[in-house]
């Protein structure tokens, strides 16, 4: 579906985004779909793709001067020299989300697909998004469709509030009869602290190299990217998402806490003072809280509310342990000098 001006206005009104951010931007409406297709084949055969429902194809040629400058990018190799005709080489994408995550399907039409396969010629997709508009890191991936290779560029440093997508995102690329197609699934667990539950807008752009085209702006040019507007979930859909996240956090905590306890309580390699005095009490406290919530299958909106205060510590328990350990060792360094 192409996005009309009227829809743009609706999107601006629904979300909390500043109107200046939406003006002159492409906005794609990402709908909630509980049974979203998974994988290239499922998407290629889906009703959405067959009927063009939700199709976004407003790509424009990448600025050729800017493309030449990309040779100076020492970290990413792009083939910006080959410039076949745009005609017949439409690029489009579709997106939906649900309680599990964000689904993206990219369709690159290529009339010479068999030649590409025979001669091992590749098409690269460069994908950028930032889960929010301000004060938020952005993610970059380059997908080589024929090689089915993905390069992740982590512009944030791993810490409590940023994690690489590398271990989480699922990407599949396949040659299909009309060209190449790529499917991405980004589970909410890796973006749990950025969930778009309030009609949020996220920055997004997609470049195709061969021929060179873009959905919005140049590489890293977040100010000119398009926007994804996430249709607000219904109350029950929201609870479903938050339940899944809380469940993931609880089991992440349990696994990490077990590993941490095993290490720090080890009589040879651990530190019993630290374990007994700092770590174990916290693990016990968080475990008791989790167990008081009952069986995860029975969790509801009330459970979500109760679990929310510890969600971050559960999900990031390894960083919590590191913080405890830093404090413990700092105290130790000053212990004999009151």
């Amino acid at each position: 579906m192409r996005i009309s001006t009227a829809m743009l206005l609706v999107a601006a009104a629904v979300g909390s985004v500043n109107a200046d951010e939406v003006q002159d931007r492409k906005v794609y409406e990402c709908r909630y779909m509980e049974n979203a297709p998974y994988g290239v084949t499922a998407w290629a055969e889906s009703e959405m793709v067959k009927t063009g429902t939700g199709k976004e194809s407003r790509f424009v040629p990448y600025n050729s001067e800017a493309a030449k400058g990309l040779i100076l990018d020492a970290t990413a190799l792009r083939d910006v020299s080959s410039a076949p005709e745009l005609k017949g080489r439409e690029t489009s994408f579709y997106m939906v989300y649900n309680s599990r995550g964000w689904y993206i399907y990219i369709d690159c039409r290529e009339p010479q697909i068999q030649t590409y396969v025979d001669e091992r010629k590749d098409i690269a997709l460069e994908i950028f998004f930032s889960p929010g508009l301000e004060r938020v890191s952005y993610y970059q991936m380059i997908v080589n469709q024929l090689a089915s290779r993905v390069s992740h560029y982590d512009w944030g440093m791993p810490h409590r509030h940023y994690r690489s997508l590398k271990e989480h995102v699922r990407i599949e690329s396949l040659p299909i009869t009309t060209g190449f197609a790529t499917f991405l699934f980004i589970p909410w667990e890796c973006l749990y602290d950025r969930l778009p539950l309030d009609g949020d807008h996220w920055r997004f752009s997609l470049m195709r190299w061969g021929p060179s085209m873009t959905w919005g702006g140049k590489v890293h040019d977040t100010g000119n990217f398009g926007l994804i507007h996430f249709q607000p979930p219904s109350p029950s859909q929201r609870v479903e998402i938050e339940k899944r996240i809380l469940r993931a956090a609880w089991f992440e905590f349990r696994a990490t806490a077990t590993a941490a306890a095993n290490f720090w309580s080890d009589e040879e390699l651990g530190d019993l003072d630290f374990y007994d005095g700092a770590l174990k009490p916290l693990i016990d406290q968080y475990t008791a809280l989790g167990e008081s919530l009952g069986e995860p299958d029975g969790w509801d909106a009330e459970t979500v509310k109760k679990g929310r205060p510890v969600l971050g510590d559960w999900m990031e328990f390894r960083y919590k342990v590191a913080e405890l350990r830093t404090e413990f060792l700092m105290n130790k360094r000053f212990a004999d000098s009151k």
């Binding site: 990309l70 040019d221 929310r308």
Partner: protein
């Protein structure tokens, strides 16, 4: 449902309107209902600390604690959160005293972290994004009024002499290049009074320079806060001086090999010459830069002058000799010597001219440093054709007994010219697999652009210049660039201003520091760089102590050492909390030392 305020907490901040209530909720808080409260925060962190948000890692505190080795610079940081407007807040550090003696107050340097507008990707990336403006913390200033920020218009102004100059203009409004070598941009040498507005906190950055001669032990002093003439609180500053100095960094894979720390763009003589700067002025500024580099662990400065493209060879040789002598005088490691000397045709008509230039270069470098452990470079980021020319010309430099360092890329340099490259500066994020191929040929490997300088996040440089590169078996750090200086030949057309992030283009100014006529202005990213190399030096110390312990043959010492080595190898340096990793390295070093004493 996750509310907006809950979402903000998840992002690591809470809005300032909640601060007062958090103070009320903490009846034993040391700051009570006073006009300011102080929150300790980790100095080195990926969390963006902004005036209108209190990060979740901020802890209400009346003390700051620092653990540092003898001779080390170590930062600690806190936020001043005003409960009312304060026209003039003075912060005053006392001397530190302890059983080991005292450390004078001039070893405690306090700066304010200045937030200003930069491009949309500024915290994260060196790529340009000048269509968006975000407030980010970056500059470390003694005088916060050096830069004035208009929050309503999202503009920055720099005080040049007595007047403020707009430095956030778009490219089409650039009239000329900004000559940072002569323009009167001067920060104070000590912290000046701060002006505070209710609802806007400020981050302070305290760097403790522990004297090399300080005895191990705890030293205590304080930082007094005086608001509009009245004492409104005191922070205790406690420094644990460790019983050792940090060694020079060695590689992770071989304790006998130096870990080389170098940056591009540290020499200013060429641009000074182009701009007609007086030699004594150039020397003064170069000395200030060299001092800054050494204080930030850049021990292997590159000699930036070269003999190619110079009309007067004798003059060029004299200039190169002078640069080398200045480097020696400053105290850089001169063996091996890294030089920008150019092992590539530079317009010479024939090979004889090329050889004559290389002869002069080698004679000049070797006679000044007294050895031939010298690396010179060739074409930067060369494509296949140029790699083939490079390898052909390298034959002569190899025959002269010197070596070649070049920027390299996968599938090109190793595959075509691996046999003649001795030091590969590999483009991209550090990975062990990038290193293995070069080490198979006995070559050294560093990396750059993983990422380039430019992002403001200090944690990027701490991690990527530090343990991430070190543990991936690299031989050094060789990143681009100290700051984006004026181009010696294109500066008139480019009309660049190192202070302006909004000139468009694919890349932002890549600044670890901002050059001024009297030296450089520090940034939190540059402090991250220092801490990254300090992490490598702590790891080196751990490995050196472990090697000593293992050589004793005493079971307890050997086991303690090997447990430390196990820990270091198992540490996931790409994701670990580096503040915790630092404390753990110290713990292991002290344990090994104790085990050897027993």
């Amino acid at each position: 449902m996750i509310t907006k305020s809950a979402s903000l907490r998840l992002l690591g901040v809470c809005v300032l309107s909640n601060i007062a209530s958090s103070l009320n909720a903490a009846p034993h808080a040391p700051w009570g209902q006073g006009p300011v409260a102080c929150y300790e925060v980790p100095a080195l962190s990926s969390v963006v600390r902004l005036p209108d948000a209190l990060p979740t890692d901020a802890r209400l505190s009346s003390r700051l604690r620092v653990v540092a080795a003898q001779g080390e610079f170590e930062p600690v940081s806190f936020l001043v959160v005003p409960q009312t407007d304060i026209g003039r807040l003075v912060l005053k550090a006392s001397p530190l005293s302890g059983t080991g003696g005292s450390i004078t107050a001039d070893h405690v340097d306090i700066k304010v972290v200045k937030c200003w507008y930069q491009g949309g990707t500024a915290w994260y990336s060196y790529f340009g994004d000048s269509n968006r403006r975000e407030l980010v913390p970056e500059l470390l200033l003694h005088d916060e009024t050096l830069v004035r920020v208009d929050r309503a218009k999202k503009e920055n102004y720099l005080r040049v002499g007595g007047e403020y100059t707009w430095v956030s203009y778009p490219r089409d409004q650039a009239t000329e290049a900004f000559n940072y070598l002569t323009e009167p941009v001067v920060d104070s040498t000590t912290l000046q009074p701060l002006s505070l507005k209710k609802g806007e906190n400020k981050q302070l950055w305290v760097t403790v320079k522990v004297p090399k001669t300080a005895d191990a032990g705890v030293y205590r002093g304080n930082i007094e806060l005086i608001a509009d003439g009245k004492n409104v609180g005191t922070l205790e500053l406690a420094v644990r001086v460790l019983p050792f100095e940090l060694p020079m960094p060695k590689t992770y894979y071989n304790l006998d090999l130096e870990y080389l720390v170098t940056l591009y763009g540290t020499g200013i003589y060429e641009i000074c010459d182009r701009l007609g700067i007086a030699p004594e002025v150039a020397d003064r500024q170069q000395r200030a830069i060299y001092k800054d580099l050494l204080e930030h662990n850049v021990f292997n400065c590159r000699a930036d002058l070269q003999l190619s493209h110079q009309p007067d060879r004798a003059q060029a040789i004299a200039a190169l000799r002078h640069e080398l002598r200045m480097m020696k005088e400053a105290g850089f490691v001169m063996k091996p010597l890294l030089s920008r000397g150019w092992a590539y045709p530079a317009g010479e008509k024939d090979l004889d001219e090329y050889k004559a230039r290389i002869d002069d270069l080698v004679e000049t470098l070797a006679s000044e440093v007294g050895h031939h452990d010298i690396y010179i470079t060739s074409w930067d980021e060369a494509g296949v054709d140029r790699v083939k020319i490079m390898r052909e010309r390298a034959e002569y430099t190899t025959a002269k007994g010197i070596k070649l360092w070049v920027t390299t890329h996968p599938g090109r340099h190793f595959d075509l010219a691996g046999y003649c490259i001795d030091y590969a500066n590999h483009g991209g994020w550090p990975k062990r697999e990038n290193v293995a191929t070069w080490h198979a040929l006995g070559a050294k490997v560093a990396s750059y652009a993983g990422p380039h300088t430019g992002p403001e996040n200090p944690d990027i440089f701490r991690r990527m210049e530090g343990l991430a590169r070190y543990k991936a078996y690299y031989d050094g750090s060789f990143n681009y660039i100290y700051y984006s200086g004026l181009h010696p030949t294109l500066y008139k057309q480019q009309k660049a201003n190192v202070w302006n992030d909004f000139m468009g283009g694919a890349f932002r100014p890549m600044n670890l520091v901002y050059p001024t006529s009297s030296g450089v202005i520090d940034t939190i990213a540059w402090e991250g760089f220092r801490e990254g190399i300090d992490d490598v030096r702590y790891a080196t110390k751990l490995k050196q102590e472990a090697a000593k312990a293992i050589s004793t043959g005493k079971v307890e010492a050997v086991y303690t050492a090997k447990k430390a080595l196990m820990w270091l190898e198992l540490l996931d340096e790409t994701t670990a909390d580096l503040n915790a990793a630092r404390m753990e390295m110290i713990e292991h070093i002290l344990k090994i030392q104790t085990a050897m004493e027993d």
